[in-house]
Amino acid sequence: MAENAKPKRLGFWFTFLPPFAWMTVLYFVPLVALLTYAFQRHEYVRIIHEFTWENFQQIATNPGYRNTLWRTLWIANLVTLIDTLLALPVAWFLAFHAGRFKRTLMILVLLPLWSSYLVRVFAWRIILGYNGVLNGFLVHTGILREPSTLFLYNKFSMVLTLCYIWLPFMVLPLTTAFERLPTRLLEASADLGARPFTTFRRVTIPLVLPGLLAGGLSVFSLTMGDYITPSLIGGAGDILVGNLVASQFGVAANWPLGSAFAAVVLVVIFCVMALLSRKGVLENL
């Protein structure tokens, strides 16, 4: 027994240590550093090493910061909702009706993820801009007399771009969830007298819920942390928490406040995850 246990234990340490070290050095230590900064005082460009709630008080009392937080939450929820509604029919089609085109279509869904994030965001500028594709089309067809400035640099364009960018993260788990859904159960529901919509509501949705929430969690957290789309596509007043973090670590050089913002976002996402883990969502990520 003891003879046998030795190589087993050795194997355990060999497989456990590298990822453990990786996570410790590159993830856990920076996280602790970040959380430490969040509770330290900032004076000009210096960090004073003493414990304080000042940064969080500032976030809570400054209306600009507070509004940005609320706006971020609101936008993240909206993007998640829109992506859910968009992904449901797409995933349904992929899982049940795509037939032999399924692989190709799946690759098409994934393809944007292999291209640069910046390129994809800029693409929307080209589409929505004053001299953009959309305006060109509308003016050419005579629907508009002159190009409109309404398409870009506002909440609409920001939400549109965010929805587009994160959509694959919703489609994938949802498609998997639909694929795992036994069609026999949908037949059973119809057999017992349920109309198609009732079947969808009472059988389909509950059974794909873990996949749906897993996708939702991805889209939600990715939106919560994004700062490039708001600054490139959004309007002047549409910045998100991510922009605050970026500017506090950058121009403002106020690392403690930036850390505090990051900590708030982390706590929000952890709360959502804690809520969802009870529904078995994390196993479906």
């Binding site: 119809a190 007298g193 109309r195 198609p196």
Partner: protein, 358 residues
């Protein structure tokens, strides 16, 4: 209530080139235990799905309770199904699974509770309301599926090989349970199986299917004792087939020459004298007698003691005969190698035309 629970009128359903159901006409009476018996690919499951509304026929009509439902989707038919793999909703507990059909109707909470309770009582699962399907054994899941399907008293209950996923051990138990349930609820049962023993023991009437067609429709007694053709004879129960020539006939009594023997058998159909025929006789209808008696003289090549009976293989010239002899007090099984004579009562053997179609 209409006496005809289900009527299929010249129903056909094809998948590509395969005629899964080929011009099938059936009438299933109200309150009857009706079985569709056939091997895989015989069209029995497709027939069931046509009644359930999961398939639409290419031709023909489906009537339930006298009403044409050919174009009605499953959810508009007063028919429930017990699926082969039960198809219980994994996210709902036993109570909510059973309550599913009722919950779609406008029932008071108390009434719903009462009816679900009654259904669970009927399948002896009272007290399991809060369990999830995953926490139940196969037999229990089966009973939940039954309760779910009978809870609102459908006109017809369809059962798709409900015993095939169960251990042989509890299969017999569940079989009796299903039979009892049918007697108590008086619901019309349409039962699909490939197991001829299930079909014979459970059904009031059965249809033997093959290649999308109904070969024979009748009571288990009809089907076993007067099979419509040689395929049915072979598929339902065991049988010996002896090829010969019809030499003469008087009424239904035919005289047939088989090898160098002349034997008598019953004509199931009018057949011309001189025709090549095949005689079908069940193993239990063959008699083993000491040498010297009229019949096929042969040697016991295999003797299997089954307890209630002994099964023999007897070789007589080129013929191999399967004989089943019930055990009686004081008789000794014939040993392998023993010389015997095999014969039969002419009423027990049936004559069929020899068709090379099979």
């Amino acid at each position: 209530m209409n006496d005809q629970a289900v009527i299929l009128e010249s129903v056909s359903r094809a998948y590509g080139n395969v005629r899964a159901v080929d011009n099938v006409s059936l009438t299933i009476h109200a309150g009857e235990f009706f079985t569709l018996l056939g091997s895989s690919g015989s069209g029995k499951t497709t027939t069931l799905r046509l009644i359930g509304g999961f398939e639409t026929p290419d031709a023909g009509r489906v009537l339930i309770g006298g009403v044409d439902v050919t174009r009605l989707p499953a959810y508009k038919r007063n028919v429930h199904t017990v699926f082969q793999d039960y198809a219980l909703f994994p996210h709902l507990n036993v109570f909510d699974n059973v309550a599913f059909a009722l919950s779609l109707k406008n029932l008071s909470r108390d009434e719903l509770r009462r009816q679900v309770g009654a259904a669970l009582e009927l399948v002896q699962l009272a007290g399991y309301e809060d369990r999830k399907p995953g926490q139940l054994s196969g037999g229990q899941q089966q009973r939940v599926a039954l309760a779910r399907a009978i809870v609102d008293h459908p006109a017809v209950l369809l059962l798709d090989e409900p015993l095939s996923a169960l251990d042989a051990k509890i299969r017999g138990e569940v079989r009796e349970e299903i039979k009892r349930l049918q007697r108590e609820t008086r619901i019309t049962f349409v039962y699909v199986t490939h197991d001829q023993e299930e079909a014979l023991t459970m059904s009031d009437r059965l249809a033997v299917m093959r290649g999308g067609r109904v070969l024979q429709l009748g009571t288990p007694l009809d089907v076993y004792e007067r099979p419509a053709d040689l395929f049915v004879a072979e598929f339902v129960g065991k049988a010996n087939f002896l090829d010969g020539q019809l030499t003469s006939q008087a009424g239904t009594r035919a005289t047939i020459r088989i090898a160098d023997q002349t034997v008598d058998a019953t004509l199931a159909f009018p057949i011309a004298t001189g025709a090549a025929v095949r005689v079908m006789i069940r193993p239990e209808n063959l008699r083993l007698q000491p040498p010297g008696q009229p019949g096929f003289t042969g040697v016991v090549t295999q003797s299997q003691y089954l307890g209630h009976a002994t099964q023999y293989l007897v070789q007589s010239g080129a013929l191999t005969l399967r004989v089943l002899e019930l055990r009686r007090r004081g008789t000794v099984p014939h040993a392998e190698g023993a010389a015997v004579v095999v014969n039969w009562n002419w009423e027990e053997a049936l004559v069929y035309p020899q068709t090379k179609a099979e």
